[in-house]
């Protein structure tokens, strides 16, 4: 699989067991030869079947007949599409089939399969991964990595949508911008609102990319750090950041793709511009690999209490120091960019007429915004 000759899938979800894995019913029965026979139905299996590789390795969660109820009775099995002979050559077809494909809002090229295990007889041949009834522990390692992977998909779709919106805004002409000359239509990128939208897209994308790469950095230190203390601390920070990376990046993925449609105006709603596809594709990201609501629960109930709260307590001052550092270390870069962006925006904005700026002070106290980044992070 590392060579890419085979691909793999993760089979968790069942029709009645989505986020609540304790409810799953797929069965595994021990055989005399150390293998197991798996029966059951799994849904939403990404690339559950395809013709791109000669074999597919399914990792399947199932329950042994004598397993305790709930999540403590779930085991993990490796079920190959094609059985592998002792000499490594491909043997018989295993009893696992794609029964149907889902019709989805987006990601149409990616087959989302209903998988049936053991429909034809006594069950699909499976091999135990790890220990019996400890399947979720192994699955959680994979899910954490997969959650960061989905966060990265949010960054990806956001960047693609931004590139498309900028390209369109640089060639489409409508109306007359503040600096436009009479009788000539301006490029829409010269309009203040379009520029503001593009800057929002760019900054959200870059922030999400930074969060994902910082999480990857912590994973690298967790594996190759200098000593156990350093590795353990990094593993904790990676665990803390993973739900943030997943939820923030996928939320902004949808938001940025939506702004991308907006910048295209009516054409954004028409499929041929491509902006609509990004929006449709992005919409799954806050849902799969644990909805963003589940990420919020993970952050609040499992990650914030890590090490008695010390992981997050030490992380926040670190991040604040980084922010202060960025303002001083990068005067030629970040700050200059910020000032230049502000000047550009001002240059292209309609100027207020005299008198308009003089407003009486607000009589009401400002209310807290209903939505802010802290609320987004913590659900």
């Amino acid at each position: 699989m590392a060579a890419g000759t085979w691909t793999g899938t993760m089979n968790l979800t069942e029709p009645h067991a989505g986020s609540d894995l304790g409810q799953l019913r797929s069965k595994a029965v021990r055989q005399g030869d150390g293998t197991y026979r798996i029966t059951g139905t799994k849904i939403f299996i990404t690339y559950g079947d395809h013709e791109m590789t000669e074999n597919i390795i399914h990792l399947v969660l199932a329950r042994l007949p004598d397993a305790p109820p709930g999540t403590r009775g779930i085991s993990l099995f490796l079920v190959p599409k094609v059985l592998v002979n002792a000499d490594g050559s491909l043997g018989e077809r295993n009893d696992v089939v794609c029964a149907s494909l889902e019709h989805k809002l987006g990601i149409h090229a990616s087959p989302t399969c209903v998988m049936k295990f053991g429909e034809g007889g006594e069950g699909a041949v499976g091999y135990l991964v790890g220990e019996e009834n400890r399947g979720l522990n192994v699955m959680f390692i994979m899910m954490n990595a997969a959650r960061l992977g989905v966060g990265v998909q949010g960054v990806a779709i956001a960047d693609r949508a931004t590139q498309r919106a900028i390209a369109y805004a640089q060639e489409r002409r409508q109306g007359r911008s503040a600096k436009g000359s009479a009788g000539e239509m301006s490029l829409i990128i010269e309009h203040a609102d379009v520029r503001r939208n593009i800057m929002t897209m760019t900054s959200l994308t870059q922030a999400a990319r930074a969060i994902c790469l910082v999480t990857a950095r912590e994973l690298d230190i967790a594996r190759h750090g200098l000593d156990t203390t350093q590795r353990q601390a990094a593993a904790h920070r990676a665990a803390l950041l993973t739900p943030v990376a997943k939820a923030f990046s996928t939320d902004i993925g949808v938001e940025v793709a939506s702004i991308g449609v907006q910048i295209h105006g009516g054409m954004g709603f028409i499929e041929e511009t491509g902006a609509a596809q990004h929006y449709r594709d992005a919409r799954i990201l806050p849902i799969y690999e644990g909805t963003n609501g589940i990420q919020a629960i993970d952050l609040l109930t499992r990650k914030l209490p890590l090490e008695g709260g010390r992981v997050v307590e030490t992380y926040i001052p670190r991040t604040r120091a980084n922010c202060r550092g960025a303002a001083h270390v990068q005067p030629a870069g970040v700050r200059a960019h910020g000032r230049a962006a502000g000047r550009e925006l001002w240059r292209h904005s309609p100027k207020p007429r005299a008198g308009l700026g003089k407003r009486s002070p607000p009589t009401r106290k400002p209310r807290l915004p209903a939505r802010n980044p802290i609320c987004d992070f913590s659900g």
Binding site: L101, I157, R160, A167, G225
Partner: protein, 141 residues
Amino acid sequence: MTYRAPVDDIMFALKTAAGLDDLIATGTVSVDEETIRAVIEEAGRFGSEVLAPLNATGDKAGARLVDGKVEMPDGFKAAYQAFAEAGWASLSAAEEIGGQALPDVVSVAAAEIWNASNLGFGLCLAADAGRHRCRLGAWQR
């Protein structure tokens, strides 16, 4: 509209947010910055030339179930084979299982490029990093 990998933006985030210089100096990351940039540029080329042209066509055609087998949209099988042959499927997998053992900061940067070029294609790789890690970690314990 052609997709162009944001190589400068990715390198900027790697160097500032992810502290790449420090990762290299401490030996946590064992490849140098030039190599990392070269890998990301090359991934960008593959994404732009091979994967991005299949994004809209793959969306329109979709995967189909024919006689109990899934048929991918045109071009996907060849693209996957080219992807695997170029070694992109094994970027972060450990050397002992046939991977290239590049750090996660690089495989995450590359993953952005595959998914930006073609999210429908990128999904066939979605869980790979986790599986490689599992194979070395929990499976053996």
